[in-house]
């Protein structure tokens, strides 16, 4: 209770110490965070995976899968069908799939969906999913498992999935007569990759787009006379249609991507929409049952058949695996159809079959591995489904927030959070030290008495003097609701020389610009399509670039709005404090959702937030800092990253063409993130524009402004 009852005691000493050591302390925190993160790759700092959910009982059944021949036959028939009839089109062989599923005696349905492409000139895409439901003999369709395969046409540049479809059908044929299923199994083939999956899931869960307004909420009390309240168009770009047949709540889903039965190893993909991950128990289950069925499996840089004798090698591999996972998570784009299930609270993973010459790169000793066949894949699938069949309740044990350092090692949220907290803590410490300085500065002007107790009185006295001088000048204009920021601290009012309104207005404007940028792509795409005849990605990219350039020029002048005199030191310091607090809040919140993005944003922007400060005169270091700030503009970061990435990916290309390729990749990336945010609800673009960009704008303002 000492903290509560006597906050005064000894605080002066603390303030002195804080002022002296805060910059090395922040630096230490930053380094500590990075070191902590890399240590997590080491065996000593992460844990072995284990089963938390007892009900899974993995691998306790005798495998009975006998559909090898059937699978081969399905595979051949499908290939034949595709070559005969679907060579030139991208369409899915719906009749063939429906016929086969009906022959197996599944309840077969098709599902149509439509996409009104949100950008560009209103293209419309249509697609069809086929799914069959195996009704569980033991229960009344209250729960379900999903086995899904994306359909890829022969002309697709990605690996095909024909073997996956064949395996799914063979497994359905095998599972159909079995008496032990306690959950329905839905066998689903989706078209247009993630689009079909998203449409199916939305239709399955009956998502509706109308958000009720106040008046619709009144029900029978409100007799609507006019319908003038709908200001914005509610129709969404993806129309999921309706499903004719449904089952119960989906407990888990497995997505298969096998182009041929003779794969060398299976890559287990987990990263979902917005970096969400499936329950660790499911991931663990899949890895364990692959081992049991004699299939080689991998995760990123970690290959189950490679054993590191040397602990140093293990550490390096662990770190690379973590980094690989993070790079997949950062964009928040699912790297397989499983990722869309997570948003609906369904645990799902993708099993991707890989050959020795896979585009993802050749792992060590891959040629010595024996290739798999339908029998082994089938037994693995059977074990997984029979294990899931045992589930008594939803996956809820184990971890939802983790990083994987190997196929069998993980880092839990409690272990990686300190890293993020150290980064945010560095910013908060800086904010605290700035806060202490503005408290103290007023003190300095007075003659000093070396008595601790005098301090408050002095502050008070001083504020009075300033008040008399400036009280008249300061006018609360009363506009701009953003004054509310101040109340949260409840404290900014104490020195009257601070104009609350202009600080609030500046903050509000910065965020307004951010949300304006968020909504701008429609305008750019429209202009680009109508007047310049450019594809949307080009017009959006250059549009954003122009806006950014404009912001760079204009934003320093925003500080001069709503005030008669230039901003003084205290005001800028308060802006700086708010900036630091907002940045650390952003880091924590994003890190809760998507640790990779949170860490990445914090690691990049913490140095910027720490470098920013109130300057008296321009010096070389300020120009240096401005340069760093410009480099850290979200758009610039993206472009530079893409350029470096394409340079690494295609080292043989000449520099200009690699840069051009990087720029094109950046265009694509922006376009994808916008479209993803509209169709799937990926919030990366929204967060980047509405929070990160305003933070950047304010840092830039602070770097550009000097005080007298």
């Amino acid at each position: 209770m000492g903290l509560l009852s006597d906050p005064e005691y000894g605080s002066m000493r603390f303030i002195k110490v804080l002022k002296r050591i805060h910059s090395p302390l922040c630096f230490l925190f930053y380094i500590g965070a990075i070191v902590w993160f890399f240590l997590l790759g080491h065996r000593e700092f992460n844990n072995d995976t284990y089963f938390s959910e007892n009900a899974l009982l993995p691998g306790l059944v005798t495998n009975e899968f006998n559909g090898e021949q059937a699978a081969k036959q399905f595979h051949n028939e499908l290939l034949q069908e595709l070559e005969d009839k679907y060579e030139d089109t991208d369409e899915m062989p719906v009749p063939w799939l429906v016929a086969k599923m009906s022959q197996i005696h599944l309840e077969v349905y098709t599902h149509n969906f439509t996409l009104n492409y949100p950008l560009g000139q209103g293209q419309v895409f249509k697609g069809t999913n086929v799914y069959g439901i195996l009704r569980a003999p033991r229960t009344s369709s209250l729960e379900a498992l999903v086995l899904t395969v994306p359909y890829r046409p022969l002309s697709s540049h990605q690996k095909g999935t024909t073997a996956g479809i064949a395996l799914m059908l063979a497994f359905a044929q095998f599972a159909r007569p079995k008496k032990y299923w306690a959950k329905d199994i839905i066998f689903l083939v989706t078209e247009h990759e993630q689009l079909g999956m998203q449409a199916w899931l939305e239709a399955y869960h009956g998502l509706q787009s109308d958000s009720g307004t106040f008046y619709t909420n009144l029900g029978s009390f409100w007799k609507s006379k006019k319908k003038g309240w709908e200001w914005t168009d509610h129709s969404r770009c993806l129309d999921p249609g309706t499903l004719k047949g449904r089952s119960g709540s989906i407990q888990a889903a497995i997505n298969l991507e096998f182009h041929t039965p003779k794969i060398k190893y299976i890559e287990v993909k987990v990263e979902g929409l917005n970096g969400q991950l499936p329950n660790l128990d499911l991931v663990n289950l899949v890895h364990k049952l692959c081992v049991k069925s004699g299939i080689h499996h991998s995760y990123k840089n970690s290959y189950a058949w490679v054993r590191n004798r040397n602990s140093m090698d293990g550490w390096v591999d662990g770190v690379w695996t973590m980094l690989g996972m993070m790079s997949a998570q950062i964009a928040g784009v699912p790297n397989g159809n499983h990722g869309l299930f997570h948003r609906f609270g369904i645990e799902a993973v993708t099993l991707e079959g890989r050959d020795a010459d896979d585009p993802a790169g050749a792992p060590p000793r891959v040629h010595q591995l024996t290739a798999t066949n339908f029998y082994r894949l089938g037994t693995a699938l059977e074990s997984i489904f029979r294990s899931l069949n045992n589930l008594l309740e939803r996956f809820h044990q184990s971890y939802f927030f983790y990083l994987l350092a190997a196929t069998d090692r993980f880092i839990s949220i409690g272990q990686y959070m300190p890293s993020l907290c150290l980064l945010c803590g560095a910013m908060l410490i800086r904010a605290l030290s700035l806060w202490v300085t503005i408290q103290k500065e007023e003190d300095k002007k007075e003659d000093k008495k070396d008595n601790d107790g005098v301090e408050e009185e002095k502050v008070n006295e001083e504020s009075e003097v300033i008040e008399n001088r400036e009280g008249l000048r300061k006018r609360v204009k009363g506009d701009l609701k953003d004054k509310k920021r101040v109340k949260e601290d409840g404290d900014m009012k104490e020195t009257e020389s601070i104009s609350v309104v202009s600080i609030g207005a500046n903050y509000f404007l910065a965020h307004l610009i951010g949300s304006g940028v968020m909504n701008s792509p429609f305008v750019f795409s429209h202009i680009g399509a109508k007047y310049l005849d450019r594809p949307s990605e080009v017009s959006v990219y250059y549009g954003l670039f122009c806006v950014s350039a404009l912001i760079v020029v204009i934003s320093p002048f925003l500080l001069k709005l709503f005030r008669q005199r230039p901003a003084n030191r205290e005001e800028l310091t308060i802006i700086n404090i708010l900036l630091l607090i907002e940045m650390s809040t952003l880091g924590l919140c994003v890190g809760m959702h998507n640790i990779s993005l949170g860490l990445c944003v914090c690691a990049l922007y913490t140095p910027l937030a720490l470098l920013v400060g109130v300057r008296e005169k321009r010096s070389l270091s300020v120009y240096l800092k401005q340069g760093i700030c410009l480099l850290l503009h979200p758009l610039v970061i993206l472009t530079v990253c893409m350029m470096v990435y394409s340079r690494i990916l295609f080292p043989e290309e000449s520099l200009p063409s690699a840069l051009g390729r990087g720029r094109d990749a950046a265009m694509q990336a922006i376009m994808f993130s916008i479209v993803d945010s509209l169709i799937y609800g990926n919030w990366l673009f929204n967060v980047a524009t509405t929070v990160l960009l305003p933070v950047w704008i304010i840092s830039w303002q602070l770097l550009c402004v000097t005080v007298a």
């Binding site: 909420n217 009144l218 948003r343 008040e467 601290d489 409840g490 809040t585 809760m592 959702h593």
Partner: protein
């Protein structure tokens, strides 16, 4: 002019948010709407009432019959007025707080003049000037009008909006010395939410201070008027419900026994989901004593000379510890804090409390989303955040009280805090 502009902007912000697409989301947030005050349940109750079903039979409606009947007539005859009504109530609240602060400033000035001889020479500079005090009401007004907590509360159209108005009017009535107004409105507030009953203590002290004369008589008169009003309201409510008192089980009973454990920003739900059933009564009593009466006596003894500070602290504490708190309550007592602007320089933890307020206010909805919509986090995450929110509020309030003591001490004894030549330590007791 500036005042009118503030009102206009506040109205526009509220009106726009009510008519935006976010309304539904906001009105259903657990932080804003609790089982006690949510608009959805009010509508439900009114619907049942209209169809001659006793809304208190079921488990969905817990508002007082008075509110039921007034909103029933509003909904029945003028539903299009409702957004306007809620906005108006909120604006009126702000107005009454403004008036309260104005009178409070006058009282503060008078007290200062009365006590001028006890102030030590060293601390003469700390005497508050007119200029300093004149801005206080404006701050109170703008904090209430633009505080995101109170804005969201109004937009969510919770009955806490009404509750805030009742509290504001009773505070105004007591500083202005209108005994009847103060008592009627505090009785109304108590009738609606029970917890404001603690405020009768600072209000009777205030009334006794403002209306000169026999203090004991004043206390007794205030108490009597309050009890009469409250009893009358209880009776009237029963009359509305056709003479049946069963509504009490579903209003006061609901507040006291906490049967609905829907998560909110308070501390009850988590403990009672974890609790063994046969210890429930014990812990309900412990928690309610903590929220209702534990702090009244000690704080009254200590702050009997500053009844408004006492009222602020009691409102804040009951907000933190009550069974179904919402951000509207938080917004209300935050608006009272600027009255103590002269104490802010003595506060030590405002930075920590401010940071904690911002971070938890953002983190709370985040982990709620992860828990409910993504299904990946769980109740512990959300409770952790609400617990730190409550801790931040406690820090703020304790800090305020301590700042008051420090200022009082410094005024009396000068700034050198020494006893017999040694540095002394102040303790909140």
């Amino acid at each position: 002019m500036a005042l009118v502009l503030k009102y206009v902007v506040a109205v526009l912000v509220r009106y726009w948010l009510i008519h935006s697409d976010y309304w539904q989301t906001l009105a259903n947030r657990v932080e804003i709407a609790t089982p006690l005050n949510s608009w959805k349940r009010l509508i439900e109750g009114i619907y049942l009432f209209e169809h001659n079903i006793d809304p208190y039979d079921g488990d969905s409606f817990h508002e007082s019959p008075l509110l039921l009947i007034s909103f029933y007539s509003l909904l029945k005859y003028a539903p299009y007025l409702l957004p306007g009504v809620f906005t108006l109530i909120d604006i009126l609240t702000a107005y009454f707080l403004y008036k309260t602060a104005k009178i409070f400033v006058r009282i503060l000035k008078r007290n200062q003049e009365n006590n001028i001889e006890v102030i030590s020479d060293e601390s003469k500079a700390m005497i508050l000037t007119n200029l300093q005090l004149e801005e206080v009401p404006e701050y109170v007004l703008s904090v209430y009008l633009f505080n995101p907590y109170s804005v969201l509360n109004c937009v969510g159209m919770t009955t806490t909006v009404v509750q805030n108005l009742l509290l504001a009017v009773s505070l105004w009535g007591s500083v202005a010395g209108h005994r009847l107004v103060a008592c009627i409105f505090i009785a109304l507030a108590t009738h609606q939410a029970l917890y404001p009953i603690t405020l009768i203590v600072p209000i009777s002290i205030l009334l006794a201070d403002v209306n000169k004369g026999c203090k004991k008589c004043s206390y007794i008169r205030t108490l009597l008027v309050f009890i009469l009003c409250w009893g009358f309201l209880i009776f009237i409510s029963a009359y509305i419900m056709n003479g049946s008192y069963s509504y009490i089980y579903n209003t006061y009973g609901f507040i006291l026994t906490v049967p609905d454990l829907k998560p909110n920003i308070g501390l009850f739900w988590y403990f009672f989901t974890e609790m063994f059933e046969h210890f429930r009564l014990l812990f309900v009593c412990a928690f309610q004593i903590n929220a209702l009466i534990l702090y009244v006596v000690p704080l009254t003894l200590r702050f009997k000379n500053e009844p408004i500070l006492l009222a602020t602290v009691l409102i804040a504490l009951s907000t933190i510890f009550r069974s179904y708190p919402c951000v509207g309550d938080v917004g209300f007592y935050l608006a009272l804090l600027p009255m103590w602007k002269h104490l802010f320089t003595f506060m030590q933890q405002k930075f920590i409390a401010g940071c904690a307020f911002i971070i938890t206010s953002v983190l709370g909805p985040t982990v709620w989303h992860l828990w409910i919509y993504s299904g990946s986090a769980n109740a512990n995450f959300f409770f952790g955040v609400t617990l730190s929110f409550a801790t931040a509020q406690i820090f703020l309030i304790t800090d305020l009280m301590f700042a008051y003591l420090k200022r009082e001490f410094t005024l009396k004894h000068g700034s050198s805090r020494q006893v017999d030549g040694k540095p002394a330590k102040l303790v909140l007791r």
